[in-house]
């Protein structure tokens, strides 16, 4: 908007987490999301590479220890450089930045309060709400708020979290559990029902299967009831095993809640402006132009109802919105076929429909699923277990067999998936993907070699070179 000549103000404020964690400009992605998550994931992957290295001739004495403090400091320094970078960018583009906590006074007026309590009033022709979300606490569980932490805190811990139990529903939980295990920490994941809800379930179970084989412990169908602090500082967690009905207890250094996020809307005083929210999710209701129930007030990103909670979609939605508001274009955001990747120890990249969704939408007889278990070349020399390295393409059965969804589990899944997302955007058919010659040797080429369908019942294991 600033580049298009508008007078713009950005208001950003981070309410400290219950543990007291706060951070600078940039939002979730930069501070407590994608960026630190991927860096810690990388740290864990490097641990794996250190273990691989001797097989390739490097003499590194095993096992190698990990220093959390050193990693945390390096990650936090990078995040801070990004905070700084954002501030500089805003300055360069002549966007005014206010570090105040905002709420609506009326449809065109915001009241902002600084950390010190000083109030400012700002008015604007257009207002965009992009306040995102924060992790949910299971406040009904005794001790959850006092003793547990969330993703808001884990990336800012100065000391190692030690023996940890992430409580998941989401990719955040599995990603955290994944890198914690990779860094050498004793990690247990407790879940009430299925992991990665909303994702393809076959792929989700392969993800957790791999994590299990790498040392992450899973307590399935368990739900915590109480967290207590012990005299020595450790935490005692009591939970119920839903299958047996029995109660169990365990001791941990850290309990990490990753049971979902709630939109940051409660303190905005949305009713003062007449902005409607969804009664279930508390998210702000928007139309295809990202407009709320009030015509000149918009909402984008995680806070908007029905939108994928991803950085790149928020970025693009924001850009397109600015262009529309400045009369530059009338393009609206296309939220279909958004690719994403879960950065678990064995990464899962996907775009398009899950197998379940495809079956539900088109009917089983009209869907063809091609799949393969493959082994990355680099795993051979190190004798790494590749049992969960798997790729499947969900297509329409009718020729030319339009590709509905692609699911890839393996190293560098994000890199593999990005280009194919483009393919799907171009309306790729199975035949076109098969006509594409593979790049050898890579993992991605396995997508172009998918020949075995699930329907055939044949063994989908790729053999040989």
């Amino acid at each position: 908007a600033a580049q298009l000549g508008k007078k713009v103000a950005v208001i950003d404020y981070v309410e400290p987490s219950p543990r007291g964690t706060r951070w600078g400009l940039g939002g979730t992605c930069v501070n407590v999301g994608c960026i630190p998550k991927k860096l810690m994931h990388q740290a864990a992957l490097l641990g794996g590479m250190i273990r691989d290295a001797p097989h390739y001739g490097w003499d590194v004495a095993q096992p190698v220890q990990h220093d959390w403090k050193k990693m945390a400091e390096a990650v936090q320094n990078h995040v801070k450089s990004l905070n700084w970078g954002h501030r500089v960018q805003l300055q360069e583009r002549k966007v005014e930045y206010f570090n105040i906590k905002a709420s609506f006074v009326n449809k065109h007026t915001i009241c902002g309060v600084t950390k010190g309590g000083k109030e400012t009033l700002l008015s604007a022709e257009h207002i965009v709400i992009a306040t995102g979300g924060r992790p949910r606490y299971p406040t009904h569980i005794e001790g959850a708020l006092e003793y547990g932490i969330t993703s808001d805190d884990i990336f800012w811990l100065k000391d190692s979290p030690g023996k940890t139990t992430p409580q998941p529903l989401s990719d955040v939980a599995l990603e955290c559990a994944g890198f914690l295990t990779g860094l050498g920490l004793d990690t247990t994941v407790m879940m009430r029902s299925i992991p990665l809800r909303g994702f393809d379930q076959q792929m989700s179970s392969l993800v957790t299967e791999y994590m299990d084989s790498q040392g992450t412990r899973f307590l399935k169908r368990c739900t915590p009831s109480r967290v207590q602090k012990l005299p020595d500082g450790q935490l005692q967690v009591t939970w119920e095993d839903l299958t047996s009905g029995k109660k169990n207890m365990g001791t941990f250094d850290t309990v990490l809640w990753a049971i979902g996020r709630i939109p940051e809307t409660r303190s905005l005083n949305l009713e003062n402006a007449g902005i409607n929210t969804d009664p279930n999710s508390q998210k702000i209701l928007v139309n295809a132009q990202e407009a709320t129930s009030v015509p000149h007030i918009y909402a984008i990103g995680d806070v908007a109802e029905g939108r994928p909670e991803l950085t790149p979609t928020a970025v693009m939605a924001g850009k397109l919105l600015a262009q529309r508001l400045c009369g530059q274009s009338s393009n609206v955001m296309d939220y279909s076929n958004v690719p994403t990747t879960v950065f678990t120890p064995l990464e899962y990249g996907c775009v398009g429909l899950s197998e379940e969704e495809a079956m539900a939408r088109h009917g089983e007889e009209h869907v063809e699923v091609y799949h393969a278990y493959y082994k990355p070349l680099e795993f051979t020399v190190t004798e790494r277990d590749a049992s969960q390295c798997y790729v499947k393409m969900v297509c329409l059965r009718k020729p030319p067999q339009l590709v509905l969804g692609l699911h890839f589990l393996g190293p560098n899944a994000g890199e593999v998936t990005q280009g194919f997302a483009l393919g799907i955007k171009c309306g790729a058919s199975y035949e076109q993907v098969m006509r594409t010659v593979g790049i050898h040797p890579t993992c991605a080429e396995e997508v172009t070699k998918l020949r075995i369908s699930k329907r055939s019942g044949l063994d989908p294991t790729v053999t040989g070179c």
Binding site: G57, D59, A421, T436, C465
Partner: protein
């Protein structure tokens, strides 16, 4: 069958053109094999081929003999066997001048893609060890690399692949003979095994898939003292201080991983790097290698190699001459690795006896778009094909589709358009479609828009690695909806990044579609969904932050 007297003459002619690449008449088939037109038939009559084709009960030993058990040959053979044909595969490795030989599977498995990528991975792991300290991993600073440990592990894996191929052939009832095949007359070859024993085989159809071998310089000392990629991957001792001669991707990939393993490496280049590839990208590849310790001697060629000391490795003296003047230089190295190109293995297999035309200069075999040579029952696939890309997946695809056409009644031809590839240098380079030079040649500069950007992989930030080095560019055709006709990426995991975009290009990728697609965050690949700056704008692509 006469066109003019039948109602659907036009569609018959169309179909004939499709399956034989010939529109003219007469169009002659003998015993279901397409012979050709009038000229070819007379030629066949003169050479005795027509007589052979006309024989009623030909009773050949095999339906198909494949000469060469590499990527193309094996794919072709196995597909034919799956379609119920009786197939023989002949594979034989003539030992290199240094005495190196290997098992079934061809170049890719034994002395190409597979060991190359594994050694590249070993070098990348060395880099990862360095990075890991910044991410909190603690171990002693001095980490050494043991060449023998690595080579043994790699050779073990290759051995398992050789074995896997033999098993696979056996499972499909393909007969495999480890012998050197040569044509003696039409439809008949002579196979000579290691012991010198000769056996003859006949077949209705033949596929030549003999591939290539490294070229030597033809200077004193080259065959005696130098090694090539044939020898490097199974070298029983560490090569030490190495001179790599050449600027092909083989040369740069080898120089790259040798340097990454801690060796002192120099690359001697006659003129340009990576001939045939986008030159801007080639220079960036080279520049990264130079910044990371690989020495380059540009515009020199070796004229003599002398042995100073015997050993494993020994010590060699190399004398080189400048290509621009009288200057000569000398250097001492433990190993000299020649990577100046490869020669087709087509000159010593009796092709002249049956009249198969080859390009006399390159040794490559010209084929039509169904991989058929000028002799109707002889086909060819893989590196030896004239005008086709020398890549494993291309050979496999061509071989497989060839068998399906010959024996499965299918029509699909190999699609050689927009084949992606990746050079596995220390900083990997993936590409699909046209280089910038080629694009300008084909489309004219004014018709093109080139979008580009430098980028910094997130994992490199904390590791403190080069900023403003990784680079992405696409070349678009303004006159065709800004269609992406060239895709180039220089960065980690370039192969993984490029593959999907190649599929997208096959589906007609445009700049608009790139802009409309959401990136996966944080990855390297996502930079292609946010390309804004064009070369024509002259704007700076240096990165400042997230």
């Amino acid at each position: 069958l006469s066109f003019h007297s039948s109602d659907d003459g036009a569609s018959v002619q169309e179909m004939l053109s499709e399956i034989t690449n010939q529109r003219t008449v007469p169009n002659i088939f003998v015993n279901k094999v397409h012979l050709g037109g009038c000229d070819r038939t007379f030629q066949a009559h003169q050479s005795g081929l027509l007589e052979k084709l006309l024989q009623e009960d030909s009773a050949y030993d095999y339906d198909l003999i494949v000469i060469g058990g590499g990527s193309g040959g094996l794919a072709c053979a196995q597909e034919a066997a799956i379609l119920g044909k009786k197939v023989l595969v002949l594979d034989f490795v003539v030992p290199s001048p240094q005495g190196t030989s290997w098992g079934l599977g061809g170049t890719c498995v034994n002395v190409g893609c597979v060991p190359k990528k594994l050694m590249h991975q070993a070098a990348l792991l060395g880099q990862a060890l360095n990075d890991s300290r910044k991410f909190g991993w603690e171990y002693s600073q001095q980490v050494k690399h043991n060449w023998e440990t690595m080579t043994e592990a790699i050779q073990n894996h290759i051995g398992s692949l050789n074995w896997g191929h033999r098993l696979s052939l056996r499972e499909k009832s393909v007969v495999y003979v480890n012998a050197y095949g040569e044509f003696v007359e039409h439809h008949k070859i002579k196979a000579t095994n290691r012991k010198g024993q000769e056996t003859c085989y006949t077949a209705a159809k033949f596929v030549i898939a003999t591939g290539k071998r490294p070229r030597y310089l033809g200077i004193p000392g080259d065959k005696e003292y130098c090694i090539t990629s044939d020898d490097l991957f199974s070298l029983p001792y560490c090569p030490g201080k190495t001179l790599v001669v050449g600027a092909s991707y083989v040369a740069l990939e080898c120089a790259g991983f040798l340097s990454g393993l801690g060796l002192d490496v120099t690359v001697m280049v006659r003129s340009i790097l990576l001939r045939g590839f986008d030159q801007e990208m080639a220079e960036r590849v080279g520049s990264y290698m130079e910044q990371h310790g690989v020495k380059f001697l540009r515009k020199f060629i070796p004229v003599m190699v002398q042995q100073l000391e015997k050993g494993s490795p020994g010590k060699l003296k190399v004398v080189a001459k400048s290509t621009e003047g009288p200057e000569t230089i000398e250097g001492e190295y433990n190993t000299v690795l020649l990577a100046i190109g490869r020669d087709s293995c087509t000159r010593k297999m009796g092709l002249d006896k049956i009249g198969v035309k080859i390009n006399e200069k390159s040794g490559k075999i010209p084929v039509n778009d169904v991989e058929q040579t000028n002799v109707p029952y002889v086909y060819a696939v893989g590196d030896i094909l004239e005008g086709k890309l020398e890549l494993t997946p291309v050979a496999i695809q061509a071989g497989r589709l060839l068998s399906r056409r010959l024996f499965g009644g299918r029509l699909e031809k190999c699609d050689y358009l927009n084949v992606p590839t990746t050079v596995f240098t220390p900083l990997e380079y993936g590409c699909c479609g046209l280089s910038e030079e080629k694009a300008i040649q084909v489309h004219k500069k004014e018709h093109l828009e080139v979008y580009h950007t430098l980028f910094w992989p997130l994992e490199w930030t904390v590791a403190g690695r080069d900023n403003n080095t990784c680079y992405a560019k696409i070349i678009c055709n303004k006159f065709d909806n800004y269609r992406v006709i060239g895709f180039h990426v220089l960065g980690p995991n370039a192969g993984e990044v490029t593959q999907g975009f190649a599929a997208a290009m096959k589906c007609g990728l445009t700049k608009q579609l790139l802009d409309d697609t959401i990136g996966i965050h944080p990855t390297c690949g996502e930079v292609f969904t946010t390309l804004e700056i064009t070369k024509s704008s002259g704007l700076d692509v240096t990165q400042k932050g997230c």
